[in-house]
Structure formats: structure tokens, C-alpha cells
């Protein structure tokens, strides 16, 4: 404990040199901008930066890359809120209520609360990191394939229960997502599954491409018919980037719940921001007294997941701190760059180069504050985007969506995929089949399948492993509860006469 505080002090000394502060600022700003562009996530941002870091000392290089990573996470939700286009998987949830808020003319509040919640999540996450690294690291090691499978099952059922309308449709959506996830080469058997002889499908379907299609391009389709409709937005309120006190009060609970949740999920190997944000949204929707507001611009639905996402990235540092193992794809890119600089990441990194390791942690603390300062003023020009007429905005979204798609894999085949996803998205909206369960199943499908198979391999074929392990059993029970709760809710809804809220959106 004392050792940790001592090390943190050492880290702050490194992070607070003027040179490093400058790079945190540049990296953070660059990351925010990269994160705002659809399809460009933190990993690309860090990769672009690698050549710039060649001349730097390792600590500054890593600090700069972390700042880009952090900035991209702040920026990712900007695009979700403004144009319904998530920059990466962990920003999907920010679309659910962020975009409706923007449409209602509350873009300023949405952007502000997302920056504030990200900040709060990041700070709470850092505190957890400093104080609870040891116990949670031990817990994370207990997390085997059975536990992982049950956790994902719980995340999926929780997401189904979130969806508007019938639970059956939620399951249909999940089924479609799972089916799409099986396309490609199977790592275990080497079998090529459902590619229909198309080589481009061998690597599977990139969920980011599907996401851009389902959200951004579908949004363009939806609005096309009403292109000349003027939204009833108060021009004065648009420019204001601040949260009203009642809105802020509503957000405190979600932020305080989302942060520890995100941190814990982040610690688990390979779980990540997607599960953290979806679960936090599920928690908020079941806690609230007015679940009907969710999906129509409830500020709680934005604040919780945003906090969870940033706390999760702090949690992901735990395996890095204790085992020297990168918790995310972006961290892996950073480690590749570090190797070029001659620094080998691992558990001894903290003994051999404490100034690098703790410098980065401390710089994240500094970066968090700085990103809040960057993002609040940056929101002012951003909200003005809403004043752009639809007939200009829609083609712009379309162009950005397709550009972002190409940047993901540099594959022209993805243009076909994104168009198909957009058509499918339009149909799903018309059939009122919820999209979130489908996206989540597509993202988690491969992992769910593999952890199921790994569990069975370890248990020598016995299914009992799922309920004999206490943590796994706990998740299964939670999954069952969430399902029963949702069925119950649906029954009540069926009995009630339909309210105006039920109108199709």
C-alpha cells in the first residue's frame, strides 16, 4: 500500500514534467479527434502515432500513446451522440440515449455529461487501481472459461431484457447475431464455416462494419423520407454545453454504480468495454422508476455506461500491472511500439523501469483532467453541427460511414457488407426487432462459443462445470433472474392498454 503510494509519487514526478504534459495534451486532443471519426478507434490512433514516438524516450512515448488511447475513448462517444455512429464497440451504448438526446436538442447536455461521466469513471477507476490491485488480480485468475461463458450469457440475457417490445424478438435478434458470428474459419477445428466460397469472409464479419451499417447508414435511410422536416430545436439551448442541476443529480447514481462495475469487468481477462457498457445500461434501466424513458433520451442511460467504459480501461491495467499482460488490443499495439524502443513489457517492467510504468499510470490521472478540459469546450463547435440542414448532414454521415468502413480493414468487400447491414438494419427497425442484442451477440459470439468449448474440454465433457463453479453459478442465476424479471414486465405491459409511448419510433 505504502509502496503503491510511493510509486504513484514517482510516477507523478515523471508525468508532471512540462514536456510530458505537453504530449498528454497533444495526444489527448489527437485521440479525441481520431475517436470522433467513425471506424477510427484507439488502436488505429495509436498505430498512426508509432513513427512519431521513435525519437522519444520510452516513458514519453508510452505516455503519449496512452493519451491518444484515452482521448479516443472520450471522442468515441461524441460520434455516437451527434451522428449515431459509434467509433468503437464500447461506444455503441452511448447511441441508445445519447443520440435521442441530441435529436431533442439536448446535445449540449449529452456531450457534457458524457465528458463528465468519463472523467468520474476514470478517476474512480484510478482510485480502485491504486488501492485494490492485489485482491482483484487474485480474483481475476480464478476466472476460467466456465465463468467467462456464464458472464457473457448474463450480459446477453440482460441486453435482451432491455429491448423494447417482445422478448421473443430480442431472442430472434440474438440468434441472428450468433449466426453471423459463426461465419469464418473456426480456430478449434480449422473448418471454414458459412463463407459460401467467398474468401473475404474467411476472417469472419467485422462487427465494426456491421455496426456502422446498422447505426449510421440505417439512420440515413430512416431520415431520408423526412429530409426537409425541421426539428423543433430551440436554437439558444443548442449552443449551451452544460448540464442542468436536475440532470446532473439524476446522473450521480449511474456514475457511481457504473464506475466500480466497469472496473471489475475490466480486470477480467478478455471481457472489456463492450460488456461493461451494456451491463451498466442494463443496471440503470432496471434500477430506474421510469424505464420507458430509456432509449428516448434518458440521461442516466448515457452517464452510467460512459463512466463504466472509462473505469473499465483502468481495470484493464490490472493484468498489465500484476502479470505484464496487455488487457486490450490497443495495449498490445503500445507494447509492440515499446519493443521497438527496446523495452520489454512484463511483470518485471515495474521493478526495472518503475518510472515508465508508473509514469503512464500517473499520466492517465493527469490526462483525465486534461481531457475533461479539452472536451467541454470542444463540444461547443460540435453541437453547432445540429444546425446543418439534413440534406447536407445525411450525405456527410453516409460518406463518413463508408470512409470509416474502408479504414477498418482496407477491404473493398466491406463496402458490400456495410450496405447489406444497412438494409438489414432498416428492415429490423421496421419489424421492430431490437438491434442491440444482435450487435452484442455478433461481438461476443466467437468468445462465447470458444469459452463454452474450452469449459467442456477442461471438464472432460461434463456440463456440470457451469454450476459447480460458484462464480459461474452466480452469473447463471443472475441471467435467470433477469429473464424472469423481463418476462414479468412484459406480462404487465400486455395487460395494460397501449399508451401513446408505444408508438413506433
Amino acid at each position: 500500500m505504502e509502496a503503491i503510494l510511493h510509486n504513484l509519487g514517482l510516477g507523478l514526478e515523471v508525468a508532471l514534467t512540462p514536456n510530458n504534459i505537453m504530449w498528454v495534451f497533444i495526444g489527448g486532443l489527437l485521440g479525441t479527434i481520431i475517436g470522433m471519426l467513425p471506424g477510427l478507434g484507439p488502436a488505429t490512433g495509436v498505430a498512426v502515432l508509432i513513427p512519431i514516438t521513435y525519437g522519444m524516450n520510452p516513458a514519453t512515448a508510452l505516455i503519449t500513446m496512452s493519451a491518444v488511447y484515452y482521448g479516443a475513448m472520450f471522442g468515441g462517444s461524441r460520434a455516437s451522440i451527434m451522428i449515431n455512429t459509434p467509433g468503437d464497440a464500447s461506444a455503441i451504448v452511448s447511441c441508445f440515449d445519447g443520440y435521442p438526446m441530441a435529436k431533442k436538442g439536448k446535445a449540449g447536455s449529452a456531450l457534457a455529461i458524457s465528458a463528465i461521466a468519463s472523467f468520474v469513471g476514470g478517476m474512480i477507476g484510478m482510485v480502485c487501481l491504486v488501492f485494490f490491485t492485489e485482491p482483484v488480480a487474485a480474483m481475476a485468475l480464478k476466472f476460467g472459461p466456465a465463468e467467462k461463458f456464464s458472464l457473457m450469457l448474463f450480459a446477453l440475457t440482460a441486453t435482451i431484457t432491455l429491448s423494447e417490445g417482445s422478448i421473443l424478438k430480442g431472442f430472434i435478434a440474438m440468434g441472428i447475431g450468433f449466426m453471423l458470428a459463426t461465419i469464418g474459419i473456426d480456430g478449434q477445428s480449422g473448418a471454414i464455416r458459412f463463407t459460401m466460397g467467398i474468401d473475404d469472409l474467411q476472417d469472419g464479419i467485422d462487427f465494426l462494419v456491421v455496426m456502422i451499417g446498422l447505426y449510421a447508414v440505417t439512420e440515413v435511410f430512416k431520415n431520408f423520407s423526412a429530409m426537409d422536416v425541421k426539428y423543433d430545436i430551440d436554437a439558444k439551448s443548442i449552443g449551451r454545453v452544460w448540464v442542468s442541476w436536475p440532470d446532473f443529480k439524476k446522473s450521480i447514481g449511474p456514475m457511481l454504480r457504473g464506475s466500480p462495475l466497469g472496473f471489475l469487468i475490466g480486470v477480467l481477462p478478455g471481457a472489456g468495454g463492450t460488456i461493461a457498457t451494456f451491463l451498466s445500461y442494463a443496471v440503470e434501466k432496471s434500477v430506474t422508476k421510469k424505464p420507458a424513458e430509456f432509449g428516448k433520451g434518458a440521461i442516466q442511460g448515457l452517464a452510467g455506461p460512459e463512466a463504466a467504459n472509462n473505469a473499465c480501461s483502468c481495470g484493464a491495467l490490472v493484468p498489465l500491472l500484476t502479470l505484464g499482460i496487455p488487457g486490450s488490443g490497443t495495449a498490445a499495439v503500445m507494447l509492440g511500439a515499446l519493443m521497438m524502443l527496446g523495452v520489454r513489457p512484463g511483470p518485471i517492467l515495474f521493478e526495472q523501469h518503475p518510472e515508465i510504468a508508473w509514469g503512464v499510470i500517473a499520466s492517465m490521472l493527469v490526462g483525465n483532467i486534461m481531457l475533461l478540459m479539452i472536451n467541454l469546450p470542444l463540444a461547443v463547435p460540435l453541437v453547432r453541427l445540429l444546425k446543418i440542414p439534413q440534406r447536407i448532414m445525411l450525405p456527410l454521415i453516409l460518406g463518413m460511414g463508408y470512409m470509416g468502413t474502408y479504414f477498418l480493414n482496407y477491404a473493398s468487400f466491406d463496402f458490400i457488407l456495410v450496405s447489406l447491414a444497412a438494409l438489414a438494419g432498416y428492415m429490423l427497425v421496421k419489424l421492430s426487432i431490437p438491434i442491440p442484442p444482435m450487435v452484442l451477440a455478433l461481438i461476443l459470439g466467437g468468445m462465447t462459443e470458444q469459452s463454452f468449448r474450452n469449459s467442456l474440454t477442461i471438464a472432460n465433457g461434463s456440463l456440470s462445470i457451469f454450476w459447480e463453479q460458484p462464480i459461474s453459478l452466480a452469473f447463471l442465476v443472475l441471467a435467470a433472474i433477469s429473464l424472469v424479471y423481463a418476462l414479468n414486465k412484459q406480462k404487465k405491459l400486455m395487460k395494460m392498454p397501449s399508451t401513446p409511448e408505444e408508438e413506433a419510433d
Binding site: I185, I192, P269, G324, I348, I458
Partner: protein, 329 residues
């Protein structure tokens, strides 16, 4: 006026044709345009590192007088980038990084491409494979471990990633056979995120051993968390002087996890000569040697003809192991 311009532009055109044609007539060939080194994966991985290290060495040692760019073309386990190279037939300005995956993708039926489709320029570096267990586990040598496995294969679970049929997997299959156990009975647990999942799973006691490349475990071994049972190098590696090779343990098995470079098919003898000579100079340069040192890679330079012989041998070994366990039907 117009007439004059026409004559002039005609002259320029003739001069340009002459300029481009001249080197082709001569014995020697030199790159005519910027050189492109293809890393058939995203930034940060092994292929990317080797492409960028080549770029650095070739440029800083002034071995080529045209600029070099590295392009990342991920997809299909290398197939996307390699297909792109295949399309540049006869053009000497295109190189691509490769690895055993070029054999394995073909063996497993994932891709039609083989090493025979390209001009295999040189094998460049190697990392070594290991089998690692938890530091407090009862097994100290390969023999002890595989004896335990023979007794009760269902109690031993082996972590491998990202997919079966790769070098890590083939190492373990070959060892199992060599130590007299049944490769078909091995229980492999597949981790798509490789070391990031394998090491916590091993430390958490969910699996009993991992088969993986040395570099991924080195820091854990130094920290006293893992023990390595054996390494696939011909001699002990300098970082771990106490760890015996498989050879020392009585198994004739040297297995590099190599990376090399290849050029487009259909190159003229002059183009082939230029690149074999240039790469030969590159691997002997200080910049190259220093870079290998910082990256912790072993020099495994094998020039073109020997490289092809080596690949033929590897192909046979892998085909055998993968047929044994039914991955090749």
C-alpha cells in the same frame, strides 16, 4: 507553337522510354520506383515489426536508392497481403514478410497460396518455442511431464492460441509423439487471444501447461511465476542458460518459429540477383544486427536456395503432425 511543343514532348517521351529501357538491357537491375514492403497484418505484430526493421536497415545503410514504404494489408492470416504480392508478378519493387503460416494456411486448406507461388528471398530471424508450466507444478523436465500425460491424458489440459494448426500446436504434437504419448489424446484448450489469455489461465490453474513462443513467457519466467520444461532451439538460449533444449532431453527436435521475406513471382534473374545480394548485405549490417538485438530475435539468415529446401522439410513435418490428429484429411 503547337508543332514545336509536339516535337518537344515527343523528344521527352523518347528520352523517358530510353531511360526506363536502358537498365533492362543491361546485366544489372535496380528498383525503378519506390519499394513497397508488405506486412500482411495490422501494425504492431511480428510481420509489421520485421517489415519496419527491414525498412530501417535498408534505408539507413543506403542499400537501395529508392524510398521504401511499409504497407499493412491484414486479412486471411496473411493471404490478403500475399495475394496482393502475387498480383505484382515480374515487378521487383514489391516484397512481403512471411512466416510458417504460409505453409500452414495451405496445409489446412485455408488458402491456395503456397511458398511455391513466390520468389522466396531469405529467411531472416527465428524465435523459439517452449512448453511452460506453473513454477510450483510437480513437473521439472519434459520426460516427467509427458510420462504424467501418458498415465492420464484427461488430467492434462494444454493451452494453445490463437488457433490449432500453428507452430505452437505442431511443436506440442511432435513432442508428444517423440516422448511416446498419443498426440490424438492431448486435450488442447484454444485461446484466441493467445498469451494474454493463456498465461492467466495457466497461473489460475485452469490448464496445466502452455505451448507458446519463448518471448511471450520470458518475463514471467524471470519473475519466477513460470517454469519452462524445454526449448526448441539447437543450443540453450542466452537469456535462459538453465533451461535445457529438447535435443538435450533426448528428442531430436529443433523447431524455429521463423520469419522471412519473399518477393513477387516471375522476377528476372537480374532482379533476383539484386535482391539476394542486397538482403545479404543487409543482414550483415550493423543497423540490422542492432535491431535484432533490441527486439530479442535470433538471426536465422538463410539465403534463397537453402530457404526453399528448408521450407520443403518443414512442409513435410507439419503435414505429418497435422494428419496424425486429423486436421488434414
Amino acid at each position: 507553337m503547337i508543332g514545336k511543343w509536339r516535337v518537344l514532348s515527343g523528344l521527352i517521351a523518347t528520352a523517358m522510354v530510353a531511360a526506363t529501357a536502358a537498365p533492362a538491357l543491361a546485366e544489372d537491375w535496380k528498383p525503378q520506383r519506390p519499394i513497397e514492403i508488405i506486412a500482411p497484418a495490422g501494425p504492431g505484430g511480428g510481420w509489421d515489426l520485421i517489415a519496419r526493421t527491414m525498412q530501417k536497415a535498408l534505408t539507413e545503410e543506403k542499400l537501395v536508392d529508392k524510398p521504401i514504404i511499409v504497407t499493412n494489408k491484414p486479412g486471411g492470416g496473411g493471404a490478403t497481403g500475399w495475394n496482393y504480392l502475387k498480383g505484382k508478378s515480374g515487378q521487383g519493387e514489391f516484397l512481403a514478410a512471411n512466416s510458417p503460416l504460409i505453409l500452414q494456411n495451405n496445409l489446412l486448406g485455408k488458402s491456395d497460396l503456397t511458398y511455391k507461388n513466390f520468389f522466396m528471398l531469405a529467411n531472416l530471424m527465428a524465435e523459439w518455442e517452449v512448453v511452460a508450466v506453473k513454477a510450483d507444478s510437480p513437473w521439472k523436465t519434459g520426460k516427467e511431464f509427458f510420462e504424467a500425460m501418458k498415465k492420464d491424458p484427461s488430467s492434462m489440459h494444454i493451452g494453445v492460441g490463437p488457433a490449432l494448426g500453428n507452430d505452437d500446436h505442431i511443436q506440442f504434437l511432435t513432442l508428444t509423439k517423440a516422448f511416446g504419448a498419443d498426440p490424438k489424446a492431448v486435450k488442447f484448450v484454444v485461446y484466441p487471444n493467445t498469451a494474454a489469455e493463456q498465461i492467466p489461465a495457466l497461473l489460475g490453474g485452469h490448464i496445466q501447461a502452455i505451448t507458446i513462443s519463448l518471448a511471450e513467457t520470458l518475463e514471467q519466467v524471470k519473475a519466477g511465476k513460470l517454469r519452462i520444461l524445454g526449448v526448441s532451439s539447437p543450443e540453450r538460449v542466452s537469456e535462459l542458460p538453465n533451461v535445457p533444449t529438447w535435443k538435450e532431453q533426448g528428442v531430436d527436435f529443433v523447431f524455429p518459429h521463423w520469419r522471412g521475406v519473399m518477393a513477387a513471382p516471375g522476377l528476372s534473374p537480374a532482379q533476383q540477383k539484386f535482391w539476394t545480394e542486397t538482403i545479404d548485405k543487409m543482414v550483415k549490417s550493423k543497423t540490422w544486427k542492432d535491431s535484432l538485438e533490441t527486439l530479442g530475435w535470433d538471426d536465422y539468415y538463410t539465403p534463397s536456395t537453402d530457404y526453399v529446401t528448408f521450407l520443403d522439410k518443414q512442409d513435410t513435418l507439419m503435414r505429418e503432425s497435422l494428419t496424425d490428429v486429423g486436421l488434414i484429411k
